[in-house]
Amino acid sequence: MSEKVLMKGNEAIAEAALRSGCRHYFGYPITPQTELTAYMAKRLPKMEGGVFLQAESEISAINMVYGVAGTGKRVMTSSSSPGISLKQEGISYIAGSDLPAVIVNVQRGGPGLGGIQPSQSDYFQATKGGGHGDYHLIVLAPSSVQEMADLTSLAFDLADKYRCPAMLLADGTMGQMMEPVVLPEPKTGTVEKPWAVTGTQMKREHNIINSLYLSPEVLEKTNFERYKRYETIQEKEVRYESYLMDDADYCIVAFGIAARVAKNAITALRNQGLKVGLIRPITLWPFPSKAIREAADKVKGFVSVELSMGQMIEDVRLAEECRRPVLLCNRAGGMIPNVDMVISSINALKNQVEGGR
């Protein structure tokens, strides 16, 4: 096992990508993810087969990713919210062409140019598709610098395994903070990619990377086939952390930095005698709906803690099937809910539940 090093979240993603066999990176500067781009600029040109290119736009960057993904090699791009919006066209094409690629979104406040402080307000965009058409990304939400590294590595594996783009959905805090991290061991992808365009070498029929199907019957079939794969992903790849849920009367649902705040609040609340637990989705898509549905059998209510105007809360409500009250504890625009706010929300939930008796 390698030793613990101190790294910024953005750098941990970059280093983990390199250790996952990613040798192609295309980016465009934007705060608060620029360290990732800079790390790749420093490292890749010194590596065998390494390609770093600062593209002329986020649009070009994602299309360069599309090109490399078509050749079957591991490839990454990263950006922050406004830049990710620009990439959506390319992401839709990557999904529609069934290509693996890893996209990192270190979110900042929006909409529009918004701000540069941390946010989770791209939740809808990330988990519901983002671009046009029927598709999903696998969306991974790190909550520590260690997970920035680990989930990057996982993102490459899942993308290859299911032939779909995977997104790491972090935020400015996660990107900028330093924590000790044990970096993953170097590896390469092992998935065979007979579909890749590499030149026929006159030994096989030509491969075509494409998302155009003018026959609606054929296009429908590709959609159904893709969604079959999504079903497998939903069955096999849900990941979440269940924290102090065994005896919990109240359940907080939170991811990323919000989950970290929630844990501190839970410590304080338990000191006050309130049994509060946390379900922390690690995969935002597929969402841990079953865990939340099962929690709804036991707990009296939920609080969704978010750095947005309330986006994940819709999935929480869908999962618990409207059986329990679900309150929103949120800040937006680059602000972060603090421990006191979370405590107040749980108390408000308790009053609501007990007042209703």
Partner: protein, 177 residues
């Protein structure tokens, strides 16, 4: 035990560097830690702050609402954060740059003219480190141990002479009474 340290001042005073030094010290001590900078315009001279949490347990939120230890290098930071310090906590003040005293009576206040001391040493840019030396001396939760290891990691290998200067600055703050 968990210690939450908030360091604040102007961009360019080495606020993030001080935090890094504490973070690497904690890493050398094999403790859990998080280091969270404010980011953005402070790079161009606005206010900067840095939150460092050091703990024996895994760190919860890296965001510090109520620090145990506040280290300030300008008046706006003292004005902004004085009220947030935990009761029984500590505030370390660069008294060259901040003329007023800490008003709270439920916290311990420490004053050191770290900017002046640093200037007298001929290293005006190391006021942050002088101040940190004082913290290492007077804050029981943060000892002086492993500071040399930490310094070696954060001072650029290209400038070995800076290691000696930083160590001198720490000692200057550490020995100030």
């Amino acid at each position: 035990m968990t210690t939450q340290i908030l360091i604040a001042g102007f961009g360019g005073q080495g606020i993030l560097f001080s935090g890094k030094l504490l973070a690497y010290k904690a890493l050398s001590e094999n403790k859990e830690l998080s280091w969270l900078p404010s980011y953005g315009p402070e790079m161009r001279g606005g206010t900067a702050s840095c939150s460092v949490t050091i703990s024996d347990e895994p760190v919860g939120s890296p965001i510090i609402d109520h620090p145990d230890v506040l280290i300030v290098m300008n008046l706006p930071s003292l004005d902004k954060y004085e009220s947030t310090v935990k009761s029984g906590g500590m505030i370390f003040v660069d008294s060259t740059l901040i003329e007023r005293k800490v008003q709270r009576t439920d916290v311990k206040a420490f004053y050191i003219p770290s900017t002046k001391i640093a200037q007298d040493m001929g290293a005006a840019n190391l006021a942050n480190i002088v101040l940190l030396g004082k913290v290492l001396k007077d804050c029981p939760a943060i000892s002086r141990s492993y500071i040399e290891e930490a310094l070696k990691k954060v001072v650029s290998a290209k400038h070995p002479e800076m290691y000696e200067m930083n160590l001198k600055a720490i000692d200057a703050g550490y020995s100030y009474n």
